[in-house]
């Protein structure tokens, strides 16, 4: 008894961790919004729930964004850093609230906002959202019919999306591998579910969910094992500690390399790099288009931030070991994405392959591994990728928004042949889609061009001029199929009565408009955003 007391009293008192709430506020806001959404889900009357959920999500994201801007502004530069870096390690070292991370928060929130607006579009399905009424019902069953009759809707999509957003934000800023793993799951699990919730073509949607889930889990296990090996090697999850262990490494080289490889697997899977891309086309095609947009923009951004952080901070010391391999991956990814998309007949699949190709271009910037120097303000790998992600994310959300509007009796018509003559039917819509295509192709006066330019310059700065040459050749190849779509829309006569273009509500229209403006604006005056990305500086260790 006494002993127990004694032991009890002897216990060292656990110091309460101090959390920089001010810095982390954006995450908390989104998480709070998500939780609030769950509560609303429980208590709010069904009739007006959809609107309330939309409101919560939108308001939450906007608030978080404003706060993010604030946080970004008063990140104080790090002393005695070899090169410019802002921010600090927070939450007991779990998170690094630094320039790139917060910038990533910003764009993630923007992507989230735009996607939420697409989620909330209800005019296309006759007053219902694009998500299935009751996921539990088997497709085509009586229950489903009846659910549609009573206009049941899954309003959980909003909290789910918000949770995924939280995961992404954590992923982008997590400073130790364990947090990173948790964040990875937090962002993945809701997406698995969201993928299965399409209102039309539910079989495909569920299949997409299943594939995404199984393969995602599979990859995250490798990621986890990589973490385990790293931990075994360095005895810590902290990126900075790992860095120390890596820089003055002595023995058991191979274990470190295996760890590096496995961690890379998890991250490359998320960004959809070859040979871990196989899920991308199927999931992009099967998932509800708004979800696809969200994934395409958000997941890629978050995953790339994590990739940069792990490899520049933790494994920066062994960059000469992993760079050649990543270069190979980059080349294969660019090439396969570009080539295979040539023979695609489905718009969403084609966009999926194009996203693979873009992952390749982003990897080119990444392998440059040019982290800048304090004296010159040259474009660094980090800033170039941040800019590229911004442009690519907005453009692809816009593109998918356009996809939601081209419909026939069976819902969206994603088969390319149905898109013939769209330019005659509605020039504005086709024009904006063409603009996104040109931006993907990297034609000047669009943001995509500046993006390509930045990643290539980063690669060259890193000494990979020949990789740049390969890159430009592949982008010429990639341009071919974007151009094909334009030919289809403008120069080809419609088959039959041609596609019908649904009249969207202000929300989808707004999304497309914003996407167009951003794509053009970043093409003509990219200066401000580029300066922000430069201002973000390097990662904090």
């Amino acid at each position: 008894m006494i002993a127990t007391f004694a032991t009890a009293t002897d216990l060292p008192d656990i110091a309460a961790p101090d959390i920089e709430y001010a810095l982390l506020a954006p995450i908390f806001i989104i998480a709070g919004a998500a939780v609030l959404g769950v509560i609303v889900e429980a208590f709010w009357p069904r009739s007006s729930r959809f609107l309330v959920q939309t409101g919560i999500a939108v308001v939450g994201i906007i608030a978080a964004f404003i706060d993010t801007v604030w946080v970004f502004q008063d990140l104080d530069p790090v002393k005695d850093a070899s090169h410019l870096a802002r921010g600090k390690i927070a939450a007991e070292g779990a998170l690094a609230i630094d320039g790139p991370g917060v910038f990533a928060w910003g764009i993630l929130l923007i992507f989230g906002l735009l996607s939420m607006l697409l989620f909330a579009e209800r005019r296309l399905e006759g007053g219902l959202s694009g998500f299935t009424g009751r996921a539990a019902d088997a497709p085509g069953s009586a229950a489903e019919v009846e659910a549609i009759k009573h206009r049941v809707e899954h309003t959980e999509v909003f909290p789910l999306a918000l949770f995924a957003l939280v995961g992404m934000m954590l992923f982008a800023t997590s400073n130790d591998l364990l947090t990173m793993f948790v964040a990875l799951e937090v962002l993945s699990l809701p997406l698995y579910l969201l993928c299965g919730l399409a209102r039309r073509r539910r079989l495909m949607s569920q299949e997409a969910a299943l594939k995404y889930f199984l393969l995602g889990a599979f990859s995250s296990v490798f990621f986890l094992y990589g973490i385990a090996l790293t931990y075994g090697y360095s005895g810590s999850f902290r990126l900075s500690d790992i860095d120390v262990a890596v820089t003055n490494r002595s023995d058991s080289e191979n274990m470190l390399l295996a760890a590096t490889a496995l961690i890379a697997v998890g991250l490359l899977f998320k960004i959809g790099a070859v040979p871990f891309h196989t899920w991308t086309p199927d999931v992009y095609q099967g998932a509800p288009t708004p979800v696809t947009a969200f994934m395409a923009a958000g997941t890629k951004a978050a995953a790339f931030l994590a990739l940069l952080r792990v490899f520049f901070v933790a494994f920066g010391g062994s960059s000469w070991d992993w760079r050649p391999t990543i270069v190979a991956v980059a080349i294969i990814t660019m090439f396969l994405g570009a080539v295979v998309s040539i023979s695609q007949t489905d718009v969403k699949r084609m966009l999926a392959y194009s996203s693979i190709a873009h992952a390749g271009f982003l990897l080119v910037g990444f392998t440059g591994a040019y982290i800048g120097s304090s004296d010159s303000s040259r474009v660094t790998s980090t800033s170039s990728i941040l800019f590229y992600l911004t442009v690519y994310g907005v453009s692809s959300i816009g593109a998918f928004a356009v996809v939601t509007l081209v419909r026939d009796s069976g819902g969206e018509t994603t088969h390319l042949s149905k898109w013939a003559g769209l330019g005659k039917k509605s020039p504005l819509l086709a024009g904006s889609f063409a603009l996104f295509m040109l931006s993907f192709a990297g034609i000047p006066l669009t943001g995509g061009f500046i993006g390509k330019w930045t990643v290539f310059s980063a690669a060259w700065s890193g000494g990979f001029w020949w990789l740049v040459v390969i890159g430009v050749l592949v982008s010429a190849l990639a341009a071919y199929f974007y151009v094909r779509v334009i030919v289809l829309m403008f120069f080809t006569d419609p088959v039959g009565e041609g596609p019908t273009v649904a009249a969207p509500s202000i929300m989808t229209t707004g999304v497309i408009a914003v996407a167009v403006i951003v794509t053009l604006g970043l093409g003509i005056i990219p200066g401000p955003v580029l300066d922000l990305a430069q201002h973000a500086g390097a990662f904090v260790r």
């Binding site: 299943l210 594939k211 199984l214 393969l215 599979f218 990859s219 490798f222 080289e253 191979n254 390399l257 295996a258 590096t260 490889a261 496995l262 890379a264 697997v265 899977f269 070859v274 040979p275 871990f276 196989t278 899920w279 086309p281 199927d282 070991d321 992993w322 050649p324 391999t325 190979a328 991956v329 396969l336 080539v339 295979v340 998309s341 040539i342 023979s343 695609q344 190849l477 071919y480």
Partner: protein, 625 residues
């Protein structure tokens, strides 16, 4: 006053362009304006020439700079003209004969609804030809050179609705282009060598340059001359050129343009004096053409083509003379002028005959026309006497001098020239017999009649000139007149006295005449052209223009056509095929690479697993390496 010499060119040029743009309203008096323009130019030329006579030797070369034509980088060309003894003579010849032919054409083209355009083209020709002879820079000369080529193209093809005419026009232009190739390269060489292409400067500085440069320049210019003057090997276009209206044949393809080559050689005497080889080449070309032309002239039954062959041959004489150097330049020009008179005269005469014979050119359908068109006969006869070189007519003096000079150069050359004289006599006599003598062989629908006055007066004028043209030689006036330009040549003595040679020439000429009479006055001439098989090998070769066209076809035209066909194929299958081939391969690759996307999640997992393995191994490999 010489500062206004550009007016010589400007007047006909303005009139020509004006007539072109004027439109239908101009049809009524377009021809008059054209004629007046040419006449004005002639009168002004006479005035200038007269005042040139007034000056003493040094001032007889009057240059003016109109404006700077080209000044780019280190290349500088002035639009400048030089009116001197040589160009003066040409101005008179061109505008004089030109005006007469304008007058003649008023009648000849009376019934052509495009007469206004015809006169416009004639004026443009006059302007271009004057530019050619007045130019004081080789590039300006080239401007006129190609200008006359254009005019000849337009006029040969004037009756464009005839395929043969259009083809002949194109042929003339293209063959001339080959010559111009030489000209152009020559001018470039001058620019490279001397930094200028001013005629005076180049001919002055040539002595400072290496002999090879002089030879190269000489040969390149000779190539140009061959093209313009239808000398072997670029002779083939001239006979086809007879598709053009007869006044054109008279003015361009007999009197003036075709002699531009001779002018070029004489004008470039500095260059040719500096290169023995170039001169020899000129002589050879002249001699060959002389005989070839004569040969062709003997075999043709088409009156215009017979005359064209004779033109070739006569220009051969001039070339030959020009090739003799200072000894021959003056005589070349002399023969050029006299030939201008009598050949224009005979062409117009032929035109007058055709006018009376419903534009039939086949001599075998003529015969006995002397009574029906006496004036034409008379004038033509004078021309005939002049060309075969019967004293005292113009041709006698000029040709005699050339043959004499040829013997002075080399006995074989002399013999060739002599033979040519005989053949000339033969074919011209044949032509006279078939046309004006012998029995009538007309188609029934034709009613021969004399041409209107407007056509006969020019004939008379030219006939008179051909008769008295010889006076230019009185006390060697022409040689002395041209000496400042051509340089002095002391007259070397021949083995035999000149008078004897003259006698020999006359005898040879008479033999030629006799032979023709013997052959063509014995039995009646067949109204139908005998088949090739029935005539002698010589006649056959002559009819086919010594197979020049066949040669061109075999050597140039057909190979080019084959090459073109091959290249078209190659461009499609080879160059473009490569590009499209790459595109196709990419398409196949794409189809192939989408196969692994089977849709089976386990195969995806397998791919990923393989990826993991590869990645790990790759990293290990990199570090081991």
């Amino acid at each position: 006053m010489f500062d206004l010499q550009w007016l010589l060119i400007a007047i006909p040029l303005a009139s020509g362009l004006g007539l072109l743009v004027w439109g239908k309203e101009g049809d009524r008096f377009g021809h008059l304006i054209g004629t007046v323009a040419s006449a004005l130019s002639f009168l002004f030329g006479v005035v200038l020439f007269a005042s040139l006579l007034g000056k003493d030797g040094e001032d007889r070369s009057q240059s003016t700079k109109l404006f700077t034509w080209i000044d780019a980088g280190s290349f500088h060309v002035d639009m400048g003209f030089t009116f001197d003894q040589l160009s003066g003579l040409f101005v008179l010849l061109i505008t004089g004969v030109g005006t007469l032919i304008h007058v003649y054409s008023i009648g000849y083209m009376a019934h052509d609804e495009r007469r206004r355009r015809f006169f416009a083209f004639l004026n443009i020709f006059i302007a271009a030809m004057l530019t050619l002879v007045l130019a004081s820079d080789y590039l300006v000369l080239f401007l006129g050179w190609e200008g006359v080529g254009l005019a000849s193209y337009l006029l040969i093809g004037f009756w464009q609705h005839k395929d043969s005419a259009a083809a002949a026009a194109k042929k003339a232009f293209v063959v001339n282009r080959v010559g111009d190739l030489g000209m152009a390269l020559g001018i470039m060489l001058m620019f490279t060598e001397f930094g200028t292409s001013s005629i005076h400067a180049v001919n002055g500085a040539i002595t400072g340059a290496s002999g090879s440069v002089a030879t190269a320049l000489g040969l390149l210019l000779l190539l140009g001359a061959c093209g313009k003057s239808a000398q072997v090997p670029l002779q083939s276009w001239l006979l086809d050129a007879m598709e053009g209206p007869t006044p054109v044949s008279a003015l361009i393809h007999a009197a003036t343009m075709v002699t531009a080559g001779v002018y070029l050689v004489v004008r470039s005497n500095g260059i040719f004096d500096a290169s023995e080889a170039a001169r020899t080449a000129v002589i050879v070309v002249g001699l060959v053409t002389l005989l070839a032309g004569a040969w062709i002239g003997c075999a043709k039954d088409d009156i215009k083509k017979a005359l064209a062959g004779s033109t070739m041959s006569q220009i051969g004489y001039m070339m030959l003379a020009a090739g003799l150097g200072p000894a021959g330049y003056a005589f070349a020009i002399f023969h050029l002028i006299t030939h201008g008179f009598f050949k224009a005269n005979m062409f117009l005469g032929a035109g007058s005959v055709m006018h009376g014979m419903n534009d039939d050119v086949e001599m075998r359908h003529y015969g006995g026309l002397r009574t029906f068109m006496p004036i034409t006969f008379a004038t033509f006869g004078l021309g005939y006497l002049a060309i075969i070189g019967v004293p005292p007519f113009a041709g006698f003096w000029s040709k005699d001098k050339i043959i004499e000079a040829a013997f002075g150069q080399n006995v074989w050359v002399g013999l060739g020239a002599l033979l040519g004289a005989g053949v000339t006599a033969f074919y011209m006599t044949r032509l006279m017999i078939m046309t004006f003598f012998s029995e009538k062989r007309w188609r029934e629908e034709v009613h021969p009649h004399e041409s209107p006055r407007v056509m006969t007066w020019p004939l008379i004028g030219l006939a008179a000139l051909s008769a008295v043209g010889g006076i230019l030689l009185v006390s060697d006036w022409i040689s002395e007149w041209l000496e400042p330009i051509t340089g002095h040549a002391e007259h070397e003595e021949l083995a035999i006295p000149a008078i004897v040679l003259t006698l020999i020439i006359t005898v040879v000429v008479l033999i030629g005449v006799a032979a023709a009479v013997f052959f063509y006055n014995r039995e009646p001439i067949a109204a139908e052209t005998p088949a090739d098989s029935s005539v002698s090998i010589f006649a056959r070769a002559g009819r086919h223009e010594l197979y020049g066209n066949e040669l061109n076809d075999a050597v140039v035209v057909r190979p080019t056509r084959h090459l073109t066909r091959f290249l078209v194929w190659f461009d499609g299958k080879g160059v473009d095929g490569f590009v499209t081939g790459v595109a196709d391969r990419l398409g196949d690759t794409s189809q192939f690479l989408r196969k692994p996307q089977t849709g089976y999640v386990r195969s995806y997992a397998l791919t990923m697993f393989g990826g993991v393995a590869v990645l790990v191994l790759a990293l290990l490999a990199v570090t081991l390496a």
